[in-house]
Amino acid sequence: MSTRVVVLAGGLSAERDVSLRSGRRVAEALRVAAPELEVSEADVDSALLDGFRADPPACVIPLLHGAAGEDGSLRDVLESLCIPFVGSMGDACRLAFDKPIAKSLLAGLGINTPVSVALPHSTFRELGAQPVLNAVISRIGLPLIVKPTKGGSALGASVVRTAAEFPSAMVGAFAYGEVALMEHFVEGTEVSICVYDSPDGPIALPPVEIVPPAGIYDYNARYTAGTTEFFVPARLESDIAEAVAAVALEAHSGLGLRDLSRTDLIVDASGTPWFLELNVAPGMTETSLFPQALSEAGVGLGELARDLVLNAIARNS
């Protein structure tokens, strides 16, 4: 039986660099934890599937970020080829990757999420930008955050504190996608909760608290070592820590995710957690949150990757 595990990283998204770093880190950890596996790294290109057909891998770990990696499309292809892979199925990814859809599904499950509006550029063009922006402000208030509905790493995201900043924030978001999410900006403690599936069910890792330098956890704050302060576990009262873990577990199960996910939340001054977004391919770089949470829990990244790979192979056979 093949023992070949392919870590897929790179791709064509703006998060290519992050993905490559995640891929290298997971591949190295897996090589150490599971020397019996033959671990290789591959980019996504037109030669990939021919290679898979000629020599099917035992398992694939997709660590692609951005569209093809997280919107479920690549996973659909892997499913079609009956290739086991680590992570959520395509249809669940589609729900989680689209922020407004994930928000509305989780709101339906009783999870708090900041009020928001998602609009394509065409709406602004047809109705005039200013009247629409005014309507959005009157609906969700200031400050608000604008971000592309799809995509991660805070690319194209900016906080709007005055109406004058709103148009430039929209231009920034539309540079990354056709639809922009405008969401009330909840002031509070930024927390991420990573979840992984164990044989006994999903487990929430210790919450990670993020204290970015200028108050905003943007791309630079995410991937430049030393710029952001992290607290693991987050400095939360125990009941609030339990509440955020419950939200993450409910999001993971509620959207039908599997193997691993990361839920980003804000805890406001009253201790209420507000769901912001879900990641089906959480970053695994040296500054990423998932490895930090694993480390706090005493779980090795390589060991987790090995368990998830073996589980993926087993569930496919």
Binding site: A14, D17, D45, A129, S168, V171, A175, Y176, Y223
Partner: protein, 411 residues
Amino acid sequence: MTASEIRALFAVASRPEVVSLAGGMPFVQALSMDVMADTVAKLIRERGATALQYGSGQGDVTLREQILEVMEEVKVTAHPDDIIVTTGSQMALDLVTRVFCDPGDVVLVEAPSYVGALGVFRAYECGVVHVAMDDEGLSPAALEEAIRDVRASGRRIKMIYTIPSFHNPAGVTQGPQRRADILRIAQREGILLLEDDPYGLLGFDGEPPRAIRADDADGVIYLGSFSKTIASGLRVGWAVAPHGVREKLVLAAESAVLCPSNYAQLTVSEYLATQPWRDQISTFRDLYRERRDALLDSMTSLFPSDITWTVPAGGFYSWITLPEGLDAKAMLPRAVAALVAYVPGTGFYVDGQGRQNLRLSYCYPDPDRIREGVRRLAGVIESELEIAQTFGTGAVLLDSEGSVNPAPNIL
């Protein structure tokens, strides 16, 4: 958008699906690899013990003599002892700045200027002051005004840094009169002129422009490079400096790297001694001229009429000015999603200018790819104009952070 965000976008540009008009990699594939292999093999067989050994801090003396021959093309005459061989001319730039500049000293540079030089000046904590250019490069009137203003502010000017031929990124060239005017100002004001000339032999029409250094051996330091005329991977460049300066540069070089790579130097030397290098440069010129034409022709037919660009008479780059209200940096994610890359203009300034500009390079992709890249970029610009129209022309992104350029190995 932050610097690291832009670097992330450049990471995508290395994928083959992306037409990259961003990087400045010379098209070394135009060299005969058989010739290069034979050259290296012969070198190692016949002089391996020398090539693989430490060498002199100033550089191999035979190569320095050969560099004199190369510089005859731009009418520079010097003595081999006036030359110091460096690891690319970038190292020469670093050494000159290290030797001459104290923190706070001012370097006058063109607006825009080579991003690698801006990085060096910043690293040595120099004050960088941009001086306006026109169709013939650095403006003498603006230069005089900048000198007056800087001195009036009580600061000390150490150098004027200029790329007179086929400017990176602006694509313009100083004519003979312009060069004379700039030299006269530098001499009158007693300011050292640092002439960076990596593209001088890559002109598309007529003789290579006469270097400024050809008319002043004492007040000008000349930087040359084999990166574009032979191969950038060899990392061999040089500086020509007056005697007193050269001694200091050699000492600084020795403390930095002991000596430049003997292997790379002797490879260049062997190549110059045994190959028709002028013919090879002529091949490069023809290749880059064809690519320049592909870029200019496709921009003329595909870009909206209110976009302007410079017409380079040599070198690698054209400098584009977008319509009012467009921000080249904010547009980059859209371009990368459309599988075309460029360098936003802000990277070539230290003071936030250049939002409306971008640099397109035509050195690496073949003409068909260049045309496809311009077609994609035209679509991107059209979409961005729609967004600007919707949200108003003042709706540009507010944050900015430093100069950003693709890494040297990014296409």
